[in-house]
Amino acid sequence: MRLYVITGDRGDELETARIVEAALDGGATIIQLRKKSMPMVEQYPLATALRTLTLAHEALLIINDHADLAIAADADGVHLGQDDLPPDAVRALPGFEGRLIGRSTHSLGQAQLAMNEGADYIAVGPVYPTPTKEGRAAVGTALVSRVAGIVDRPFVAVGGIDHDNAAAVVEAGAHAIAVVRAVYDAVDPAEAARRLHELIVTRLEVARR
């Protein structure tokens, strides 16, 4: 119950929905629709399809950047980057009430600011170098530890995390992990999600002892 899967850019509506359904079967609990190049006219039917799938799996649906799409598709919330609308402006949008706001953060200062601004959850990263965020320096597990020491709300570690390095991220204090490639681009997304989910839960149990 701690796996946050973000969609990759490749794939049309059908292909994306197929991969998301597999990820949900594998245990993903939060899905983020993130399509940087897909026209909004195509993203809307995709978002409503993902809404149906996530509800059937008791998972959350978060929309990247586009608060209007989050409202239109009745998603659970929106994920905002540092260059997007400020959280309080989004929160005040008609129809947004009751929805969640997540915020990307790349430093301790940004994490603190996001909490002070009332983000419902924060994402911390990129933990490792990732082609999804090309040109952005990796923050490493050190920042995950420092954020874990101060957060009073849900947070996810994101960026370049896969089955090989996820254990180190959990050991650094993350309770949840967000991935794009490790599940979305996997040959068998359901199996990849299942293995990743299992690894997170096992590591958390070890950490608790």
Binding site: L100, Q112, P154, A176
Partner: protein, 326 residues
């Protein structure tokens, strides 16, 4: 049969070698049902008294029940989780994290409450740097939600991100008093119970609403003593007593308490615990106040277990009256 020396409640005592715990208790004129026995630092089950044999050098601790309560059967359990303290500590409104850390050290709470959507309105810090949250059972609340949907989403997020299965449902129905919206609170509680959450709804002191929340499957019911942050204290003691008598899950008095005596009063009348934030955070000396609240809940619970004396309407002298010249 030879006598050997054992340590009984810290003192040496001669007993017959190989005597069973059951026989020893009989010799000591102690009813087995009235004690908890620790034998070489392990608690022995009553069923095992007869077959547990006492040998030279053994250490025995007999702990007597007082008024029906005991350290072992007086656990505070919420949603299957035993909690060491009946004081649930808040984390908001503190002048600094350092002050909060001192309060937590002084009060030694087990469960602390955190607002997922905490907006920083008063210039203080929202993050909890320097406080090891892993030492506590976190009770996230849905403060900031104004609809059932909003509260449900915050709860789902907390669980989906591995933050907590516990959720304090708090849906504000009126911005001025911050009193909860009864309908939305009930709706959110029903839904989240269905989804397997450990739900602890914040409610006004309405008795029927508390019963409905209990029926909906809440793991605990949290009626307010007075509106949040007012420190007005116990505004409707009768309703709290009625809620305690009607609701079969722990009742935790939340919000509005001002001083430790009020917390003790809640425990005396059978509340399982209290949640205190402002009364500690805004005291002149918050850590001292935190400790005072922690002591008050212990005293209150002890008094509840002891059972209060009968209330009479006619005076009965405490001193002997016979033989006193009139």
């Amino acid at each position: 049969m030879t006598d050997v020396t054992v340590t009984l409640n810290g003192k040496p005592r001669r007993v017959v070698e190989g005597v069973s715990l059951l026989d020893l208790l009989e010799q000591l004129d102690v009813q087995p049902s009235r004690v908890v026995v620790e034998h070489n630092r392990e608690i022995r089950r009553r069923d095992d008294f007869a077959k547990t044999v006492v040998r030279a050098g053994d250490e025995l601790e007999l702990v007597y029940f007082v008024g029906g309560g005991s350290p072992t059967d007086d656990a505070f359990v919420v949603g299957g989780r035993p909690l060491r303290s009946r004081l649930i500590h808040g984390t908001g409104k503190y002048a600094s994290n350092e002050v909060l850390a001192h309060c937590l050290t002084a009060a030694q709470p087990d469960m602390i409450t955190v607002a997922i959507r905490r907006l920083n309105l008063e210039g203080g810090r929202s993050e909890l740097e320097g406080i090891d949250l892993r030492r506590y059972t976190l009770l996230p609340n849905t403060a900031g939600a104004t609809t059932a949907d909003g509260a449900i989403r915050l709860a789902r997020l907390a669980r989906a991100a591995g933050f907590s299965d516990f959720i304090k449902v708090e849906v504000v129905g009126d911005e001025d008093t911050l009193l909860p919206d009864p309908q939305a609170t009930l709706e959110a509680t029903r839904q989240l119970v269905k989804e397997g959450f450990i739900v602890m709804p914040y409610t006004s002191d309405d008795v029927v609403q508390a019963i409905r929340l209990y029926e909906a499957g809440a793991a605990a019911v949290m009626p307010g003593a007075a509106p949040i942050g007012t420190t007005l204290g116990l505004q409707n003691l009768l309703n709290l007593e009625l809620i305690v008598s009607k609701v079969k899950v722990p009742v935790i008095v939340d919000a509005g308490l001002g001083v430790p005596s009020e917390a003790a009063r809640c425990l005396e009348l059978g509340a399982a615990g209290v949640l205190v934030n402002t009364a500690i955070a805004r005291a002149k000396n918050p850590p001292e106040m935190a400790r005072a609240f922690a002591e008050a809940v212990v005293a209150g619970r002890r008094a509840f277990n002891a059972g209060r004396a009968h209330i009479g309407v006619k005076a009965v002298a405490s001193s002997p009256v016979e033989g006193i010249p009139v």
